[in-house]
């Protein structure tokens, strides 16, 4: 049981560090210094410490709760070194669907705000979800099929059995590439960040989010970065043999899309869909074809 408390906690801490890393990478690429070490924490504390906060109704608030809660639940389905959490009860498919709950919660919350920019942002975000989830599920299918199981514990065991040679990335390089591509879009990083589009639709879904609402989303972002990195690590990098290797892998995974992100402008919605359905999805299918035949 204690695992169930520790796992989200670890996820949050790692996620904070990832946010910092993301901002630092961005700053470095733009030849800036970047934020100080505890900047993500200060942001969250400040936002929760706001004196006046604007709510548009109960659903607005519950949306944030769902967004955090969904990820808190999702991270317990991802085994950490020494902790399996609920991975035995859920499995990969349940995890993928669990990770859609925050999107739905956020969408509901934004909808209640009655802000046109927010609604536009959500419509774009859901479209983007439609785009990146397809290569994502291709990858998930490929891995589950290859290891003959949807249980993450078994998948990790199979990968750790023979060192690097049995890692997912070595066995299924095409799928691993597709997964990385999909992750870029899943994290909403450039060039796939049309749905936040700060200058055009005022950060889209977040337009009416201030104070603890935004703070909740910052927390969610920590979880999101962690979840994306951890999922990829579990599927392709053999999970964590121990904490050290796990952390190295997770951070390395997240660093890749970050490094790419700050070099790009953004695609339009339909171009996102077109691109993601064309390249990662096709590569993923090709990867599955190699696996099956």
């Amino acid at each position: 049981m204690i695992e169930l408390i520790l796992m989200p906690l670890a996820a949050f801490v790692i996620g904070l560090a990832m946010v910092l890393m993301m901002r630092r990478i961005g700053a470095r690429l733009q030849r800036r210094v970047g934020p100080p070490l505890l900047q993500p924490l200060w942001d969250i504390i400040k936002l929760h410490g706001k004196e006046t906060q604007t709510s548009h109704g109960l659903i607005h608030e519950l949306g944030i709760v769902m967004a955090i809660g969904g990820f808190v639940a999702a991270v317990t389905l991802m085994p950490l070194p020494g902790m399996n959490g609920l991975a035995e009860q859920g499995g990969l498919i349940a995890l993928v669907y669990m990770m859609m709950i925050p999107s739905l919660g956020l969408a509901l919350g934004v909808g209640q705000c009655a802000n046109p920019n927010g609604s536009i942002g959500i419509s774009r975000a859901l479209t983007a979800m439609l785009a990146y989830d397809i290569p994502m599920v291709i990858v998930v299918f490929g891995v589950a099929f290859f290891y003959g199981s949807t249980s993450l514990v078994q998948i990790i065991d199979a990968q750790q059995a023979g060192g690097f040679a049995t890692w997912g990335i070595a066995e299924m390089p095409l799928l691993a590439f597709a997964g990385l591509f999909a992750m870029q879009a899943m994290l909403g990083k450039q060039p796939f960040e049309i749905y936040v589009a700060p200058a055009e639709i005022a950060t889209g879904p977040m337009v009416e989010m201030g104070g603890k609402f935004l703070g909740g989303l910052f927390i969610m972002q920590c979880f999101q970065l962690y979840a994306a990195g951890a999922l990829y690590t579990l599927l392709f990098l053999g999970g964590g043999e121990n904490w050290l290797t796990f952390l190295i892998k997770v951070f390395a995974v997240v660093a890749i899309p970050m490094s790419i992100a700050f070099l790009f402008p953004r695609y339009r919605t339909e171009d996102v869909v077109r691109l993601v359905w064309k390249w990662p999805a096709m590569i993923g299918l090709l990867g599955i074809a190699f696996l099956m035949y």
């Binding site: 901002r23 700053a27 733009q30 030849r31 800036r32 210094v33 970047g34 934020p35 100080p36 900047q39 924490l41 200060w42 942001d43 504390i45 400040k46 936002l47 929760h48 410490g49 706001k50 004196e51 006046t52 906060q53 604007t54 109704g57 109960l58 700060p198 200058a199 005022a202 950060t203 977040m206 337009v207 009416e208 989010m209 201030g210 104070g211 609402f213 935004l214």
Partner: protein, 244 residues
């Protein structure tokens, strides 16, 4: 003619009581929160005039505001600082006030460029507001036409220091002396002036109500105010209501 450093007030000035802060987090970790507030500033640069051109250099690689924890944000809901960067026409002022009222407190206003101080080179223009702090409390003025990024950063650091020391609480002033600010707004925009934010109700809700919150101007406002009560969720089942 009024002194810039003194906050103009119409009514009698009362010392601001160190009232209980509404935020439970803030009550416990007052210092921590204040530090976090000073180290994490999201600025909404409302680009009203030429001064906005000095902000990109302040943000980008040469001066890099982010190392101070300052980030640009586009929605007033998320922002802490309202940067008014240049001359303020009457029509723009309405939007500035709307935007200011939609920001979450604690919020800070920085007037950049001389225009926000006294109208600058537009001092004679019938369409440019002269004194920004007539319409909303201003924390820092950064004068110059235009001030260089160094000056902007210096001003921001000044503000951060004020926040950390708990001195930058002029946002409370807007609630406590709402009548005063509203009066100036009405003088420009006419009697029917109204923003969608119900400032008086907010002041009541957060315990920021002061003796000067209400006055003749707010009375005028109430005469032709469209109701702004939030849409409360109500479970209004006819049968059950009838039985009651």
């Amino acid at each position: 003619m009024t002194e810039l450093i003194k906050t103009p007030r119409t009514g009698e000035t009362l010392p601001v009581k160190a009232g209980k802060r509404t935020n439970p987090l803030a009550n416990v970790f007052d210092e921590l929160v204040r530090f976090a507030q000073s180290r994490s500033l999201f600025m909404l640069h409302y680009c009203t005039g030429c001064g906005a051109i000095e902000l990109p250099p302040s943000m980008t690689s040469r001066f890099d505001m982010e190392r101070l924890g300052i980030q640009p944000m586009v929605s007033p809901r998320q922002a802490d600082i309202l940067l008014v960067t240049g001359y303020v026409s009457v029509k723009t002022l309405k939007r500035i006030i709307l935007t200011y009222e939609q920001m979450g407190s604690p919020k800070y206003v920085i007037g950049i460029c001389s225009c926000t101080v006294n109208g600058g080179m537009y001092w004679q223009s019938y369409a440019t507001a002269k004194k920004l702090n007539d319409y909303m409390p201003v924390d820092i003025y950064i004068a110059g036409c235009m001030p260089r990024p160094e000056a902007v950063i210096a001003g921001l650091r000044e503000l951060m220091e004020n926040i950390r020391q708990g001195k930058a609480d002029s946002w409370k002033d807007y609630y406590r002396h709402y009548d005063h600010y509203l009066g100036h707004q009405q003088r420009l925009f006419g009697e029917t002036w109204q923003t969608p934010t119900d400032v008086i109700a907010e002041a009541r809700h957060y315990g920021l109500f002061g003796p000067d919150t209400l006055g003749t101007h707010t009375a005028l406002l109430e005469q032709h105010q469209r109701p702004l009560e939030a849409l409360e969720m109500k479970v209004d089942i006819p049968e059950l209501m009838a039985r009651r």
